[in-house]
């Protein structure tokens, strides 16, 4: 593992509609360094800019202030080099492509030849335990399976960094817990750095080494909770006392935001 941070942001800010009356300060003064191999969750109420922050890392939108590097390069260069993979709340599989051809999409864009692509997609399918479904069409799979294909696609090119925007948000609770465990296993196998946006406190704590708590209007980081649960996590982790303590810590950090907003006369809903 290199010493170059996976993500390094200093004084990062994003303003939408800067010149108009609907000016929105989506993010202000974000300082965050993510080291290789780390799993970081971004959590916060709606409108706190956590998805915006993820899109800045991905160079899908451009910051209005501050500096940002991804893998030691500009975010733009990192995107061009396909340094990161991305997964969204909707699996976003192409319905006209079979499961394996969906996974091969990033490799096609990298110009890999067919044999190499097929070999990699077969490997990825094994990794997400869908080896028997290579030729299936996406609509023949359940929601959880579709999301696993999407993860396989985002990791197909073996990026060092994985950006995930509420990838399990649309799944039921049982599937969701299963997928969380699967994600940890997969990322441990591939030594992937993950930035994971979520609404769910237990999800954030269960997955992450650090939970970044964000507040809205304007979006900023209010607290970073170190989750000292160790790397080995299983179903028992969810019932451990430390787990509950960390959940409480994150919840109180989030409640702090609510209190201060109320004090300032801002309604949250």
């Amino acid at each position: 593992m290199s010493d170059i941070p996976a993500v390094e942001a200093h004084g990062l800010g994003k303003v939408f509609n800067a010149d108009s009356a609907n000016r929105v300060d989506a993010l202000v003064d974000i300082d965050l360094t993510i080291v290789p191999g780390e799993f970081v969750s971004l959590i916060g109420p709606s409108g706190c800019g956590k998805s915006t922050l993820l899109r800045l890392f991905a160079d899908l939108i451009e910051p209005t202030s501050g500096s940002l590097t991804v893998n030691g390069k500009t975010a733009h260069q990192a995107r061009l080099d396909q340094d990161y993979g991305m997964a969204f709340q909707q699996s976003g599989l192409f319905e006209w492509r079979s499961v394996e051809r969906n996974i091969e999409l990033p490799l096609e864009l990298k110009g890999w030849d067919k044999a190499k692509r097929q070999q990699r997609s077969a490997e990825m399918l094994e990794l997400v335990k869908l080896g028997d479904f290579a030729k299936h069409m996406p609509w023949q799979l359940s929601g959880g399976m579709q999301q696993r294909v999407a993860i396989a696609r985002s990791l197909a090119a073996h990026p060092q960094l994985l950006l995930m925007d509420e990838p399990f948000g649309a799944l039921d609770e049982m599937t969701r817990e299963h997928m969380q465990a699967e994600l940890l296993r997969i990322c441990a196998t591939m030594h992937t750095t993950v930035v994971f946006v979520t609404h769910s406190i237990p999800e954030a704590v269960y997955l992450a080494d650090r939970v970044v708590v964000m507040s809205p209007r304007p979006g900023r980081i209010v607290d970073i909770v170190d989750v000292s649960l160790g790397r080995e996590r299983d179903e028992l982790t969810r019932e451990a006392t430390t787990f509950f303590e960390k959940v409480t810590e994150v919840r109180e950090a989030l409640r702090g935001i609510e209190m201060s907003n109320q004090a300032r006369g801002i309604e949250d809903r």
């Binding site: 995107r79 969204f88 909707q90 976003g92 192409f94 319905e95 006209w96 990033p106 609509w139």
Partner: protein, 296 residues
């Protein structure tokens, strides 16, 4: 979700197969029924004729039309009408197919151009809409005249004018449908392609195009029908030799003495439309295979 074709695909296929001859018999019965009860001199309301005459001159018996198909085209000749009509229909079908393919390609090309450059959409769209308001019956001789003006060789190849007219009518629905499809790409999918640093044209071929296919299918059906109309009208208007349109024209001139003969040519034109429609449906099915869909 997976099985959209219904619980009894076999039964519905049988039903569909029976529908066609049934519709045929129904139309034939209606024809004969009206011929039996309708007024021989036709019916008028306030001096305007609304009901057609039912004498043999105007409405031939269905069985007369049928038997005429198997008789020689002209007395003393051994060639049956049906083979003359079939040949003409096949000729027109090839011309229509060419018009359909070229028209669809043109339509798709224009749609891509308009999807890529907003300014192209704003500049082109009004002209495209206006182009479709020009009466085609006027256009056919105009195109023929322009071709003759361009080159003496072209002047004799009237079928080229028929192709141009077919293209002129068929490109429009394809351009419109494709453009709508290209503009309806899910934003999340575009974001995914962006995150993969996909260049514009790869996003077009790998995402926008396949995502637009469901919009393309109905557009192609319209284009298939439009190509046939354009070609047949051009054939009638320009007298394209060997086309079914020309046959309608020349048999129509004999209609006073040999009415069922005209209907033979009309059957040919109807068959042309049906063949074209089923070819387009086959294309549509091929494009839409492996897709989740409700229309089977």
């Amino acid at each position: 979700m997976a099985d959209a074709s219904g619980a009894h695909p076999r039964r519905s296929r049988l039903r569909r197969a029976l529908m066609f001859p049934l519709a045929f018999v129904l139309v034939a019965s209606l024809w004969e029924f009206y011929k039996a009860i309708g007024p021989a001199k036709g019916g008028s309301i306030l001096g305007i004729r609304v009901l057609p005459r039912t004498d043999d001159q105007s409405m031939s018996h269905v069985w007369d039309m049928w038997s005429r198909l198997w008789q020689p085209e002209v007395r003393g000749n051994s060639t049956r009408i049906i083979s003359v009509v079939a040949q003409a229909t096949f000729y027109s079908l090839r011309v229509s197919l060419l018009a359909f393919v070229l028209g669809s390609a043109l339509g798709i090309g224009l749609a891509v151009l308009m999807a890529r450059f907003r300014i192209a959409e704003r500049a082109l769209m009004p002209h495209l809409v206006i182009s479709q308001t020009v009466p085609i019956i006027v256009l056919a001789p105009l195109i023929a005249a322009l071709m003759a003006f361009a080159s003496r060789d072209l002047a004799s190849k009237t079928w080229i004018a028929a192709v141009i007219l077919g293209v002129f009518l068929s490109f429009f629905p394809v351009a419109l449908g494709t453009l709508r499809g290209l503009q309806a790409t899910p934003p999340a999918a575009l974001e995914l392609m962006d995150s993969l640093a996909s260049p514009w044209w790869k996003t077009l071929t790998k995402l926008r195009f396949p995502a637009a296919v469901p919009y393309l299918a109905p557009a192609l059906r319209l284009a298939g029908a439009a190509a046939v109309v354009g070609v047949v009208v051009a054939e009638i208007s320009l007298g394209v030799r060997s086309g079914v349109g020309r046959l309608i024209l020349s048999y129509g001139q004999e209609a006073s003495t040999d009415p069922p003969k005209l209907y033979a040519a009309v059957f040919g034109a109807a068959a042309l439309g049906l063949i074209m429609a089923s070819l387009v449906v086959a294309v549509d099915r091929t494009l839409m295979r492996n897709r989740p869909q409700e229309n089977s």
